[in-house]
């Protein structure tokens, strides 16, 4: 019962947050700029274009009325027309969102896969060199500018070693000569659905570098959280009992201690997903990854303001929904969360 009430309350709160987000985007888009119409009309607009934008935005109407119009359009998925591509922004979003989500999900998995075992290792060898090395690594991961890390990885793995592709989402031979049918928009899934296993390998190769860039920071966080959770659990009696029984060290660590230390994993999933959505803006442009991040960074250069507003809106809503799901999952895993 408590659980149902908790979930309901979180859902209602998230709905309010979405309304608030819409309002804030509206304010930043239409009130903060000195001349919103000029911003919406694109770079170097003519007087006519500005006048047209002024009428479309209905700038002479009262603020409340304009907000209602804005919110209605957003809810209906009407984000206007991109200045640069002259296409409906909604269509662009539909084309680019799966690529970003694929990258975000993959990098989140990668972060857990790197961070958790390292955290276990660091806790097991506390104060020893694996511990120190991974602490050092996680500090460095925080300080490393995402865009710079992306360039370094490109330099090492694509330029010097030549084992991974420099950029893009699929090799030219596939994307141009024999493109995948777009079913879900996730290349890995579409390739399996189309029965083309060789494309899965190609898609994976292209995913690794951008995903690794985005995974470095959350992996560091995952490592630190796992480490401290493990240190606490390794001192508990059931671990001592397992030791007394003569169980092997790996079995104690991964079989008995780690399952109890998995609480932080959910936190890291949320954080990592958020980081990937944000970092996408910086990483996708470097890896020519055709997702929302590249879309928005190209919009910045083209002064395509409606696109920036639309992407901010959509990504933030993804983010709010993701956080809600994680809170609910956390309450389901550990019902004590719902009580606090």
């Amino acid at each position: 019962m408590e659980l149902v009430r908790y979930i309901l309350r979180r859902t209602i709160l998230s709905t309010f947050v979405v309304v608030g987000v819409t309002f804030l985007v509206f304010i930043v888009a239409q009130v903060v700029p000195s001349d919103p119409a000029a911003l919406y009309a694109g770079p170097r607009p003519t007087a006519e274009q500005i006048e047209k934008a002024r009428q479309e935005l209905n700038l002479d109407a009262p603020l409340a009325e304009r907000f209602v119009t804005f919110a209605k359009a957003m809810a209906a998925g009407d984000f206007g027309v991109s200045y640069k591509s002259r296409r409906l922004i909604a269509d662009d979003l539909r084309a680019y969102l799966p690529a970003t989500l694929e990258l975000a999900i993959f990098s989140t998995g990668l972060a857990l896969l790197i961070g958790i075992p390292l955290g276990v290792l660091a806790a097991a060898r506390q104060g020893n060199w694996p511990d120190r090395l991974s602490s050092l690594g996680s500090i460095a991961a925080v300080a490393m500018p995402t865009f710079f890390l992306a360039m370094i990885l490109q330099l090492i793995f694509a330029q010097w070693l030549g084992i991974l592709p420099l950029s893009g989402r699929l090799s030219r031979e596939i994307s141009i000569a024999a493109p995948l049918p777009m079913i879900t928009g996730f290349n890995l899934i579409d390739a399996v659905l189309a029965g083309r296993i060789e494309v899965v390998g190609d898609a994976l190769k292209h995913l690794i570098l951008p995903a690794l860039t985005l995974a470095s920071y959350p992996a560091g966080v995952a490592m630190r959280l796992t480490r401290s959770a493990m240190i606490e659990i390794l001192e508990r009696r059931h671990v001592t009992a397992a030791r007394a029984l003569g169980l092997s060290e790996p079995r104690i660590l991964f079989g008995h201690a780690l399952p109890n230390a998995m609480g932080p994993a959910l936190t890291v999933i949320g954080l990592s997903f958020a980081y990937a959505l944000t970092g996408a803006v910086l990483v996708e442009i470097i890896f020519a990854w055709p997702g929302l991040g590249r879309y928005v960074s190209e919009a910045i250069l083209a002064k395509d303001f409606p696109v920036i507003a639309a992407v901010t809106m959509v990504v933030t809503i993804c983010y709010v929904v993701m956080n809600l799901l994680i809170d609910v999952a956390q309450a389901l895993v550990d019902p004590r969360v719902a009580l606090s």
Binding site: F148, V281, S297, I300
Partner: protein, 279 residues
Amino acid sequence: MTRLVHRLGWPGTIAFGVVLVFVLLAVLAPWIAPYPGQGAGAPNVAAKLLPPSADYWLGTDHLGRDVLSRVIYGARVSMTNGILIVLFALLIGLPIGLAAGYFGGWIDEALMRGTDVFLAFPALLLAVLMAAALGPGFLNSIIAVAVTWWPWYARLARAEVLVLRGQPYVEAARLAGVSHPRIIIRHILPATGRPLTVQAALDVGPALLTAAALSFLGLGILPPTADWGQMVDAGRKFFPARWWYSAMPGLTIFIVALAFSILGDALRDRKGGANRASA
């Protein structure tokens, strides 16, 4: 010196030294930079994209300017960015957090739900939207990042006030008929100030990183003023063949952010507990 090492440990002391060096580089740029004119933006087309050499220690950029001088001049913008972002964020967040914590009730509810809305955004995206709305430029990019930064200080200040509000000396002041604004400013602010200042000092590094990301995207200060993030972006066209152009400013951002982060850890773990810090 030995006291500093004792208090911060060796990594913290070295990090402190690095930060100090960059502050000095920023302040003394015109006297330290080997080519002050180029650092400030004057082109030198005879020496385009030269690799690091005795004349140009970190190579030259696509306009022939000395990358070392540009990096040193960039310290002015980038360090100021970090400090001003945190300062602006404090200016917004502190009053909101103080009011929410002190008055409680519906004021608290309204202010904190508003804060939640700001926190619902992926920070960089909100900064991008804000910067795009304001247009590029030094001050605008700082405001854009500060807008995403203040909610943390509002929350921190509120949490501090909630503890202080029940303290006997605050109750005494209230019973003595001291007005609300006066209690907040004279009796609560000084006590919340210290933990917040420490936090703000630690945030300069991350703030600087966010500002660098914004200027990498072309929303920061406009050329020809040197800025690290913008240099990395400009050098991307020549990467990796002319790697130094992007790599040097990129590495500089990393070193400075790393120094701030290690210094922050050292301050947090320092011997003698948190309260003795500012002595």
